[in-house]
């Protein structure tokens, strides 16, 4: 295990947004390894730079400094080796469920018959095969996120990047989705980098939780979650679960008492 190459390797990552005449330091020198096949979550207060972090790993925006490697290969632009699930639904409203899931395969030139086989497999995995002819706008929020997951899995990326995928769902749907995701993940055995601001969601799903500080994002602590799998929702009631949760809660709330380290520079008054 020790000398195996990590799925995602991040070294001294730094991001400064320059908008207008003000520079905003969003991420400050974060280094992080995501081991192959593991489920790793990032929790942090809203606005701390979690989406920014994932967008850089996905290659959608440029980093200011540092390196990001996927299985040893440096990231320069977006590519199908990383499957990204965005915070808001990115399904194409002009395509039905089937065509949305088939889209990546189509642009990559996978033949039609093969495409159908793959799409059918993943739509059945997320239990939405009956809805293949529906439009995204005809589905509930939870169903849309399941389609998004199927779409990402369909083009078989090496790693999954998930940005608060259940953030917009109600509490009960969210718990159902967590169980579903765990089931689907254990079947696919992919490395996952999962972002959330929900502590319990992170503990329930993850092998490891990374706690981010408030902006600029730095790593406060890395916590290994040692629960057997498969996990079910009764885990929420166990004392060990509450210990993890309380510990992370404390870490996030110590944050508020730390002096404000404003590194933003105002260039033009």
């Amino acid at each position: 295990m020790k000398n195996k190459m990590p799925a995602i390797q991040i070294e001294n990552l730094r991001k400064v947004y320059s908008s207008g005449n003000e520079d905003v330091l969003a991420i400050q020198d974060v280094s992080l390894d995501i081991p192959e096949g593991k489920f790793v979550s990032i929790v942090g207060p809203s606005g701390c730079g979690k989406s920014t972090f994932l967008h850089i790993v996905g290659g959608f925006i440029q980093k200011t400094a540092g390196t990001v490697r996927i299985r040893g290969k440096e990231v320069e632009k977006p590519g199908p080796d990383r499957g990204m699930m965005f915070q808001e639904s990115a399904l194409f409203p002009w395509k039905n469920v089937f065509d949305n899931v088939a889209w990546g395969l189509e642009v990559q030139g996978v033949p039609k018959a093969k495409r159908k086989e793959i799409v059918e497999g993943f739509l059945k995995l997320v239990r939405l095969w009956e809805f293949r002819n529906h439009l995204p706008s005809q589905l509930s929020g939870g169903m849309r996120q399941r389609v998004s997951l199927a779409r990402v899995l369909a083009f078989n990326p090496d790693v999954l990047l998930m940005d608060e995928p259940f953030g917009a769902l109600d509490a009960q749907t969210r718990e159902e989705m967590q169980v579903e995701l765990q089931r689907i993940w254990s079947e696919s055995q992919k490395s996952v980098l999962f972002v959330t601001h929900d502590i319990e969601e992170a503990v329930f799903l993850s092998d490891r939780v990374i706690v981010f500080s408030g902006r600029p994002a730095t790593i406060t602590e890395i916590i290994d979650i040692k629960f057997d799998r498969p996990r079910d929702l009764s885990l929420y009631k166990s004392s060990q679960f509450r210990d993890y949760r309380n510990h992370i809660w404390d870490l996030l709330h110590e944050e508020h008492h730390k002096p404000v380290t404003s590194t933003s520079e105002v260039v033009n008054g």
Binding site: G58, F60, K77, P78, G79, P80, R82, G83, M84, F86, E88, S89, A90, L91, F92, P93, W94, K95, N96, W103, G104, V107, Q108, L135, S137, Q138, R151, F155
Partner: protein, 253 residues
């Protein structure tokens, strides 16, 4: 348009026509205001003699030629200007400068260059109708959801695939908004572009001007009515095409 609204519109038109007819019948309005029955008779004469075919054909040829060029260039350029910052920056000042000019003011210049020809007429139609489609397309592309573009890139789409499989369909509702305005303008310009060289040509605009010369207000009204009918029919066709292509846009009108 729902059924109830259609009914109200129909009643409205019938009431206005009856009123007009009544006023004309009792000679309460001057004869140059004609009357619905006289106009209908003039329209029928134009149809019976087959004269209307050549006029309509000539006018439609010019305006549809202009409109097709608007679709190709307006949408094509609009997508490029919206998607590529550099192309957009290049076109923005030119567009902003020309957009507020009433394009008909360019007619004398075009006549010097191209004479009293269909080239001049089609150009003036194109210049007028181009802007709404271009601007709607460009702004539509610019207002696209970033995550749609990112998702496509994530799935390995090439630049070309991105443009015609994501940017184009994603912008199509806005494109149709622009096309509808442009189509209306081509019918406005159908008449305006024919006010040059009226004496010996074919076209609904010519028909109006020539009728004016011989004092036939009934024929003038008839030609105007034909333009209105054509404008209405083509607008309906555009809406039909739109609902075919935008079947997925569930909250469209």
């Amino acid at each position: 348009m729902d059924k109830k609204f259609q009914k109200i519109a129909a009643i409205e038109i019938i009431v206005v026509m009856l009123l007009w007819e009544g006023l004309a019948y009792f000679q309460l309005i001057p004869t140059y205001l004609s009357s619905p029955t006289i106009i209908l008779a003039a329209m029928w004469d134009l149809i019976k003699s087959g004269e209307i075919i050549s006029h309509m054909g000539a006018s439609l040829y010019r305006s549809m030629f202009g409109f097709v060029v608007v679709i190709i260039i307006g949408v094509g350029l609009g997508i490029l200007a919206g998607y590529y910052k550099k192309i957009g920056n290049f076109f923005d000042p030119i567009i902003n400068a020309i957009n507020p000019i009433p394009k008909i003011a360019l007619l004398p210049i075009l006549m010097v260059w191209f004479g009293m020809t269909d080239t001049t007429r089609i150009l003036i139609i194109f210049l007028t109708a181009f802007f709404p489609t271009f601007v709607a397309t460009r702004d539509g592309v610019r207002s696209m959801k970033q995550v749609h573009l990112w998702a496509a890139e994530n799935m390995g789409a090439s630049q070309l695939q991105l443009l015609y499989k994501v940017v184009f369909p994603g912008t199509l509702p806005k494109i149709f908004d622009g096309l509808r305005v442009s189509l209306g303008l081509t019918f406005v310009m159908m008449f305006s572009s024919e006010i040059i060289g009226a004496s010996n040509g074919a076209g609904l605009g010519f028909l109006i001007l020539n009728a004016d010369l011989v004092g036939r207000t009934d024929i003038m009204f008839a030609a105007v009515a034909f333009i209105a009918v054509l404008g209405f029919i083509f607008d309906r066709i555009l809406l039909k095409v739109r609902s075919k292509l935008l079947w997925w846009d569930l909250n469209q009108a």
